[in-house]
Every structure is written in structure tokens, then in C-alpha cells.
Symmetry: C2
Subunit: 219 residues, 2 copies
């Protein structure tokens, strides 16, 4: 019985790493689409994003089946419950990255990013890509240090998000309302992707520390 | 044993209705703050919003304890698992409404809403308030019809969200970038609040139909 259960937990972990890898690809392609007005990258991001809901749903079903059949307690129960929250966060990350790809797609062949914001968005997108990458590592092998570096990278993303508003609200900003709308939304999406990474990493830390309060109070 | 469990399920339901009522108040106050540049309403929304994470956390702990101690199956298991997702959605609704209140607060004593958008935001905010209200009813007494009317109200919110962009991207739009940024974000927040209502109501429907796929594929 225990052996069967361990096998199910392993399957759960493999599936969640698989989702994390797809989300990493989506975030990377969406960022490329956005930064470089690359419509093919946008299409790739949107195509992979479509598969995520299905994958998350099937993982959730496995988790619920396991909860029902094995009635796990303690750490095993926590892993399964956290998995449900983690899969929901990955779904949102894929949706947010899709929105970024869609903005880039609409504007093609023009670029969404005016020169005055290209460095800011470049750094923000690269941080999101690195954050999504770190998540894969963290899910394969929990490490509290990694979770901490995720936290500080998210803080930098927040700073860059504020920087976008500073540029847009400055007197020197002369772009059309279309640019203002697109960069406002895109910046929000990049910032929310980083938030979800922090959210997921807190839940993974929680698995090792058992301290649930850390995992849920950030907002 | 069963009797004790029924009592726990009842407590879970009471607590979630309590959270739903607080979120309804937050959405109402945040909308008033936003539509009428009412700084007191903004402060009320922000103060109540601060209590939601704590309430959601304590509900989650109760649910996890119940999962561990009672090892429920079938419908009971589904109720508890759904509760975890529902509480997370309510937390997000409170956070989104807080963002709306904060925008209103920053701009006080001026209004965030230019005349050209006042009807659109008025309708959107009123729909969000009504949606949050319907959620309380739905949680007290599941009804598939109510879930359907929620769906159609959300579609109207999506239309209004698109309308905001049409107005902002029209040649006649002469407002500053500050207005553009604020209405873009606020419109997104109102739209996401309605999405969460649909999300929660699908999960409540799922409890009665057992059809999980409906509950998780919308985005």
C-alpha cells in the first residue's frame, strides 16, 4: 500500500515538473514575442498555453483520486493539497503569458515596446524567464536558498513594474493611448507572473517546513 | 463520527459564507470609492480586505485538519477540496478590490473616472457588486439557474471591459496618460473580480453536478 502511494506521489511530482517546464517555455516564447515583435514566438506560446488547462485538470483529478483512495495524513496530505494550489498558479501563469503574447500578436509587425521602456521590459521579461526556470529546479529538489533568491528577484520585478508607471506618467511620455494601455497591461502581467512564482515557491518551502502561514499570506 | 463530520462541514460552509459577505462589502466599498471619489469608502474597503487572508488561512487549516482526521470520500471530499479553491478565489477578489480602492485613494479628491467612461464604469461596478451578492446566495443554497445568470452577467462585464479600451483608443480620447493607466488597470480589476465570481460559482455547481471539467476550464 505504502509503496503504491509513493509511486503515486512520484507521478504527481513528475506531472507538476512537466507543467512547470511547459510554463517556462510559454513565458520564454511570450517574452520573445513581446520584446522582439516575433509573431511565430507568440503563436508557439499560445499553442502550448492551450495544453496547460488540460494538464492541470488531469493532475488535479489524480490528486483528488489519491486523497480519496489513500486518505493520506501529515506530510503526504500537505503535498497533495499544495499540489492543487500549485497547479492553479501554473494555469494562471500560462494565461498571463498568453495575454502578453496576444498583445504582441495584435501589434505585429510593430513593436509594443517604445524605446523609452525597452530596457525596463527587457529586464522584467528576463527576470520572469529566470524565475520560471528556477521553479523547475525548486520542484525537482527543494532548497530554501533558491526560494529566497526567487523572493529577491520578485522584488526587482515589482520595482521595474513601478518604473514603467514612472516613465508613462512622466511629462516626457508622448506615446499614444494605445502604447499606454499595452505597456500598462503587459507590465501588470509580467508582475503577476513573478507573483505566482513566489506563491508556488512558498508552497514548495511549506512542504519542507510545514509552516503554512508563510505560504499564503503574501499578496 | 458522521455527526461530528456533518458539524465540521457546516462550520466550513458558515465560514465561507462569512468570507463571501466580507468580500461583498469590500467590492461595494471599493466601487463606491472609485465611482464617487469617496475616500472613506476606500479606507473601509482596505481595512476589511486586510482581514480576508487571515480568515481564508484559518478556513484552509480547518479543511486540511478535516481531510486528515476524517478521510472523507465522494461528495464530502469534493466539498472540502473545492473549499480550498474557493477561499483562494475570495482572497484574490479582496486583493483586486483593494487595488481599485487604492487607485481611488491616490487620486482623491479628484475622480479617477473621466466623463466619457462614467456610464461604462458605473455599470461594470454595479455588475461586480451584484455578482458578489449572488455568490452569497449561491453559497447558502446552490441553484444552477443562479450560476447561469452569473455567467451572463460576467459576459456583460467582459463587454464593458472591451468598451473601456474602445473609448481609450478612440481619437476623441484626450485624457492624460495618468487617466489612461488608471482606467486600464481598474477595468482589468473589475473584469477579474467578475471572473473569480464565475470561477467560484462553477465550483459550487460542481459540488452538485460532480462535473469537475466545467469548474476548471474557464480562464
Amino acid at each position: 500500500m505504502r509503496e503504491m502511494f509513493d509511486q503515486e506521489l512520484e507521478t504527481v511530482q513528475e506531472r507538476i515538473v512537466d507543467i512547470a517546464e511547459s510554463v517556462f517555455t510559454i513565458v520564454t516564447d511570450a517574452s520573445t514575442a513581446f520584446l522582439e515583435a516575433d509573431v511565430k514566438a507568440a503563436d508557439r506560446a499560445l499553442a502550448i498555453a492551450e495544453t496547460i488547462s488540460e494538464k492541470a485538470l488531469s493532475l488535479d483529478e489524480l490528486v483528488i483520486r489519491t486523497l480519496a483512495l489513500q486518505a493520506p495524513v501529515a506530510r503526504d496530505l500537505r503535498i497533495l493539497v499544495s499540489t492543487l494550489r500549485i497547479s492553479a498558479s501554473f494555469e494562471r501563469m500560462a494565461a498571463l503569458a498568453s495575454h502578453i503574447a496576444t498583445i504582441a500578436r495584435f501589434r505585429f509587425p510593430d513593436s509594443v515596446v517604445p524605446d523609452s521602456l525597452s530596457d525596463t521590459f527587457d529586464e522584467m521579461a528576463r527576470l520572469d524567464i529566470r524565475l520560471s526556470k528556477k521553479l523547475i529546479k525548486l520542484l525537482k529538489n527543494t532548497s530554501v536558498d533558491l526560494a529566497r533568491s526567487i523572493q529577491s528577484m520578485d522584488e526587482r520585478v515589482d520595482e521595474l513594474h513601478r518604473e514603467v508607471f514612472e516613465v508613462v506618467l512622466d511629462k516626457k511620455w508622448k506615446e499614444s493611448a494605445m502604447y499606454t494601455v499595452d505597456v500598462t497591461l503587459a507590465s501588470r502581467y509580467f508582475e503577476r507572473i513573478a507573483d505566482h512564482v513566489v506563491d508556488i515557491s512558498s508552497k514548495v518551502s511549506y512542504l519542507s517546513t510545514g509552516d503554512w502561514s508563510d505560504a499564503d499570506l503574501e499578496d
